[in-house]
């Protein structure tokens, strides 16, 4: 790829990095409006991160070097992904972005977070980790399957930057059952992976219901800031993956400014729509009982499997 | 003497031997049993003589003599001596009971005839059914060993098996090479002596010659 496109790819990655807190803020704001609350401004997440970044750090005496290392690992894994996933322009900066690597880097993130949860030696961390792990057993395969289904649909292999272009080229003929099923399964995965309602409630610290927050419990100051930022970034990444891998129409295929503007508009619109959906879900549904979560996850797994199979049956 | 008579004689002797082993199955007295055995051996010797006469190979005479010496005279003596030495009570005690063992031996005799029936054609011998008869005697002897429990009775059963065998040897194949026959006789003698010795040992260690007591070695 040429220098221009690489510069653009770099720029869009930076854009993603920059907008991640904003996306979270937007979702929170929408939610508040749906619940007839005023709610904090959309820039609130930036302020929170800044505050946390300024604060001093307190670490548990039972925690080791790993505990201090984990925030860096999580944050940088997500940032790396930001360079692997296209948003505005159908090229990525990271050399040879690969779908399988992408999924496994998400696993890395989860793994690190779980270990961090176990570090404190308190009941909460362990509980959060164990629940996270229970969910991941079903999340990971469906994530893998749904992404591979799209890859197989395009026939372009596991190269990320190829997929949007190929899908666009296929036009509406791509909108077959495979894509629909895969997208549906991916949507469920998104909600579960990012710990939103009905799987988990990001805004509570009630011991019995929380999953992700329980693992963050021991972090503070900059460590917490990094963790929080990483999870915001993860949400954004998932959303932009839906926008570019499953419904890429509108993405800029060439580096011409017009296309790029169109792409920017398109991704913004998609993000807003997704944010609306998530906010709606969180407003109308209540959190599930823990042991009913697997049922929903199994549904997403089966959906993704069907997506794959439908590719060969139909 | 011409072969007709020889044939009849051999047949008669053979049948007599079978009869004797049936009788010894039927008897319940040790002394009687040994007497029957020596009588059977006598018939064997006589038959050997006759077939030697008829076929004219003379070394069967020697065989007849040896049989007479060993089986009619020495072995019965030795058995009686052993019995006297280890004072066995006179009854033959059986596992199956006399009628049962008689029926069984009748079945075995039929089996012997049935088995040897296709072989009859393959001899130009003086007699056709001697093979069947010898097989029957062997079977009956073995049956006696299976159904009688005293050490001495088992020895007699073994000896009767050998008689049946020699019946076959004489009648079917005019005896064997002399050396072999003598060796066989030697072995028989030795076997009986050794069996006697061990019967004596059994009696000494178990105070009985009832081999039904020998049941220590098993899984």
């Amino acid at each position: 790829m040429t220098e221009v496109s690489s510069v653009i790819a770099f720029a869009q990655a930076v854009l993603l990095l920059a907008c991640a807190p904003l996306v979270t803020g937007v979702i929170r704001k929408m939610k508040a409006m749906m619940q007839h609350r005023v709610g904090p401004g959309v820039l609130q997440p930036y302020r929170d991160l800044a505050k946390l970044f300024r604060k001093g750090e307190v670490v548990s005496d039972s925690s080791s070097w790993l505990f201090r290392f984990i925030p860096y690992a999580c944050a940088s894994a997500m940032i790396l992904l930001a360079f692997m996933i296209p948003s505005v322009y159908a090229e990525v900066f990271a050399p040879y972005g690969d779908l399988i690597a992408l999924v496994y880097i998400f696993t890395l993130y989860r793994f690190a977070m779980v270990l961090g949860g176990l570090e404190g030696g308190s009941a909460f961390g362990g509980m959060g980790s164990s629940r996270e792990m229970m969910m991941s057993v079903l999340i990971e395969p469906s994530l893998l399957l749904s992404i591979m289904a799209v890859a197989a649909l395009t026939g372009g292999g596991t190269d990320i930057s190829g997929i949007p272009a190929l899908l666009c080229a296929m036009g509406l003929s791509a909108l077959g059952p495979t894509l629909i099923l895969a997208a549906a399964s991916f949507m469920i995965t998104l909600v579960a992976e990012n710990g939103r309602v009905p799987f988990d409630n990001p805004s509570t610290h009630l011991e019995l219901t929380m999953v992700h927050e329980a693992m963050h419990l021991e972090y503070s100051g900059r460590g917490l800031a990094l963790m929080e930022y990483a999870s915001m970034l993860r949400l954004t990444l998932f959303m932009s993956m839906i926008g570019t891998l499953f419904f890429p129409w509108g993405i800029a295929l060439t580096a011409s400014p017009a296309d790029l503007l169109g792409g920017l508009a398109a991704i913004a619109a998609k993000m807003l729509a997704l944010a609306f959906v998530i906010a709606l879900l969180e407003s109308v549904k209540s959190k599930m009982r823990l042991f009913r979560i697997p049922n929903l996850l199994t549904v997403s797994f089966v959906l993704s499997l069907l997506a794959m199979i439908s590719l060969y049956i139909l | 003497m011409e072969t007709e008579l020889a044939l009849n004689l051999v047949d008669t002797f053979a049948v007599g031997m079978l009869l004797l082993s049936m009788l010894s199955m039927a008897t319940s007295r040790m002394g009687q049993l040994i007497r029957y055995f020596s009588l059977q051996s006598l018939l064997l010797a006589a038959m050997a003589a006759v077939s030697a006469q008829a076929t004219g190979n003379t070394h069967i005479y020697i065989l007849a003599a040896v049989t007479l010496a060993i089986k009619v005279v020495i072995i019965p003596r030795f058995l009686r001596y052993t019995m006297a030495k280890i004072n066995v009570e006179r009854e033959v005690d059986t596992l199956v009971g006399i009628p049962g063992s008689l029926l069984l031996s009748a079945a075995l005799i039929m089996a012997a005839y049935f088995v040897t029936e296709p072989l009859m054609g393959s001899f130009e011998t003086l007699t056709r059914n001697c093979l069947a008869l010898s097989l029957s005697v062997v079977f009956v002897g073995l049956l006696m060993m299976c159904t009688r429990r005293k050490a001495v009775t088992e020895a007699v059963g073994l000896l009767m098996m050998e008689n049946g065998l020699f019946l076959g040897v004489m009648s079917v194949s005019y005896g064997m090479p002399l050396l072999v026959e003598l060796g066989i006789f030697l072995d028989v003698l030795m076997a009986v002596v050794i069996i006697g010795i061990f019967a004596y040992r059994i009696n000494r260690t178990f105070n009985s010659v009832d081999t039904g007591f020998l049941r220590r070695l098993k899984e």
Binding site: S62, D98, S130, V137, P294 | C146, E154, R216
Partner: protein
């Protein structure tokens, strides 16, 4: 040939128990170095071969080091070397000359099995491997019962292997293995299917194929650590190499084994899932690792059977990718599994505890150990950029490759991906659990509170192995070039064929993870700016002081998953009874269903049959004579009638 002199010298040295302490180990190390040199030597001189002048019953003993065996030998010898050094460190040489001698023998046997060029030599050395491992496994305790099971099961496998090789020898007509190829044409459809199945199952008994895995957990838990290490790495390498050679080199993947390959795929998937499931609930680290070996080897066998499927469905050139994946994963497995086992063994030795319920907090106390263990865990859980990820990535690639095949087979794609995904996730769970409860949190027992210091000899080989794990993960592609050449040479493909043209999409782990590294450094630097020193305080305890009992237990950790997959586990008997002080105790007992419902009843049945037959030995002479009479009469009757 000079290369292997030390190997057999070392093997011989063990025979003299009077030899000074440590001499056998030293000799073994020498021979290991010689073994490591195998691959470089191969690159320099090409095939190395040698023949012993003394004839055996089947031809002359000969060895041939071609590319695949050279690679496997080098890797295995490297692992072996590390193990020997670790042995020296952890004072296992105190086990006495017999043990170290057996170590030498095992090395010789494994090396010979990998490079044997004569069918008898191969069979002999393979069985010798089983015997050595059996004799080395005498750990006492729970292992004893498992040893017999191990020996019997592996002997069963050995018989299957013997049968397979005999039939192949029959077809080939020559005992020289290097002259065997494409025997399926001679064996005929049925014959080649039978031979392939026998090979697969036979080696499967060593690799823990369901249901032959019954020996694994107990043996791993009972045997000395180094035995387990060698068993699960070096022996498995030999098994995989021989399996692939046998299936693709000797028999050849013709269309006749197509149906079989489906069954083998199914069997391997079942094994992988079972291993992943069972590893979730084990309490002893070594048991967890036993099941994880089972799972990893099942993935290897899955790749092998996939390759069979591709080859038999008429596109042999595709089979190079799965074969490469299989080889790569075997290599990786031998690296990270040996590392993990050594770490666990060292931890057990220094804490004196064998249950993860009684460990914890070691990361604070044994820092270097925890770092190496983390590398091993990450590789086990296929976390990028470690080598476990590289091989799983290659496996997924070979799955994607099925896309290009006829519709019948491309079905494999979704299922295979699903199995891989679930196995990977479960593996991640159980290794997170393993590492988290061994090294993190607060110590759960006095032993873990103050572990004994670990010697440098012990740490050095582990550090080397950790580095190797990372290196292979980063340099996956160049490594795969070598391996795929080997795979192609076995599968009889033209030497030019590389796995690369079958990769879908382009992926350069080195570049990607370099970028990742840059980012990591950047993040670290940024967050160091004007940073206040961290304050250390107690864990947040909601105001009630934490005791070790309030820590999340490993059983509790896996409880949600057990709830999800409840029906698949054996009977989990939950007993609650009142203690002396009226307190409630609650425990969950898992029993391996295959042992409980298959092997134990089998043994009982055999015992009953034996007793039934045993009755004929009544001890009564009359009945013995009666047997003779009956047999005689009945046989005579039979002859007369028929």
């Amino acid at each position: 040939m000079m290369l292997f002199a030390p190997a057999f010298l070392g093997a011989a040295a063990c025979v003299f128990p009077r030899a000074p302490r440590g001499l056998p180990l030293a000799l073994c190390a020498v021979s290991c170095i010689a073994g490591v040199a195998a691959f470089p030597m191969f690159l320099l001189y090409g095939d190395i071969s040698a023949v012993l002048p003394m004839p055996s019953v089947w031809g002359f003993y000969g060895i041939l080091v071609d590319r695949p065996s050279a690679i496997m030998m080098s890797v295995s010898s490297a692992v072996f070397l590390m193990t020997v050094i670790h042995m020296r460190g952890s004072g296992a040489s105190a086990r006495g000359p017999a043990y170290t001698g057996l170590v030498n023998l095992l090395f010789a046997a494994c090396t010979l099995a990998m490079c044997a060029d004569n069918v008898l030599l191969l069979l002999v050395s393979w069985e010798a491997v089983s015997v050595c491992t059996f004799l080395m496994a005498s750990g006492g305790g729970s292992g004893e019962a498992a040893r017999w099971r191990f020996l019997v099961i592996t002997h069963f496998g050995g018989l299957m292997i013997v049968a397979a090789f005999l039939s192949m020898y029959l077809a080939a007509g020559t005992p020289v293995l290097s002259e065997w190829s494409g025997l399926s044409s001679v064996l005929g459809p049925a014959g080649s299917v039978a031979a392939a199945a026998l090979l697969f199952l036979g080696f499967g008994t060593k690799l823990g194929l369901v249901p032959f895995h019954a020996w694994m957990p107990d043996l791993y838990a009972g045997a000395p650590t180094h035995t387990t290490v060698l068993l699960t790495t070096v022996c498995s390498n030999a098994a995989v190499l021989l399996l692939i050679k046998g299936l693709f080199g000797f028999i050849g993947d013709g269309p006749e084994v197509f149906g079989l390959s489906f069954m083998l795929v199914a069997l391997s998937c079942a094994t992988a899932l079972w291993g992943a499931l069972e590893s979730l609930i084990q309490r002893e680290p070594k048991r967890i690792l036993a099941y994880s070996s089972m799972e990893n080897m099942a993935l290897v066998m899955l790749c092998v059977s996939l390759a069979m499927m591709f080859g038999s469905s008429g596109s042999p050139e595709l089979s190079v990718l799965p074969l490469t994946a299989a080889f790569l994963h075997t290599v990786n497995h031998s690296l990270f599994k040996s590392l993990m086992l050594m770490a666990v063994g060292t931890a057990e030795e220094s804490t004196g505890e064998t249950s993860i319920e009684r460990m914890g907090g070691l990361a604070l106390r044994l820092r270097i150990l925890s770092v190496t263990a983390l590398a091993a865990t990450a590789s086990l859980a296929a976390i990028p950029p470690f080598n476990g990820f590289a091989s799983e990535w290659l496996m997924l690639q070979s799955m994607v490759e099925a896309d290009g095949l006829a519709a019948g087979i491309s079905f494999i794609l979704p299922f295979g991906v699903a199995v891989l995904g679930i196995c990977g996730a479960m593996a991640a769970v159980s290794y997170a659990r393993l590492y988290g409860f061994m090294f993190l949190g607060r110590p759960r027992s006095p032993g873990a509170e103050s572990p004994a210091p670990v010697s440098r000899w012990t740490l050095a080989p582990m550090a080397v192995l950790a580095a190797a794990c990372l290196a292979v993960g980063l340099l996956a592609l160049p490594v795969c070039d070598q391996i795929s050449a080997a795979a192609a040479s076995i599968a009889g493909l033209p030497p030019g064929t590389s796995y690369r043209e079958h990769l879908s999409g382009a992926f350069e782990p080195l570049a990607l993870f370099a970028l990742g590294g840059v980012i990591l450094i950047a993040v670290a630097v940024v967050s160091r700016i004007r940073r206040r020193p961290a304050v250390t305080a107690g864990t947040w305890d909601c105001g009630t002081p934490l005791d070790s009992g309030m820590q999340y237990s490993s059983a509790g950790f896996s409880q949600p998953l057990v709830r999800v997959f409840h029906p698949l586990y054996g009977d989990l008997t939950e007993t609650r009874e009142d203690g002396a002080d009226g307190g409630k105790t609650y425990k969950v007992v898992f029993s391996e269903p295959f042992v409980k419902d298959l092997f134990v009843p089998l043994g009982r049945a055999v015992m009953l049959a034996a007793r039934a037959v045993g009755r004929i030995q009544t001890g009564n002479i009359q009945s013995y004579l009666a047997y003779i009479l009956i047999v005689l009469v009945s046989v005579l009757m039979a002859v007369r009638l028929f």
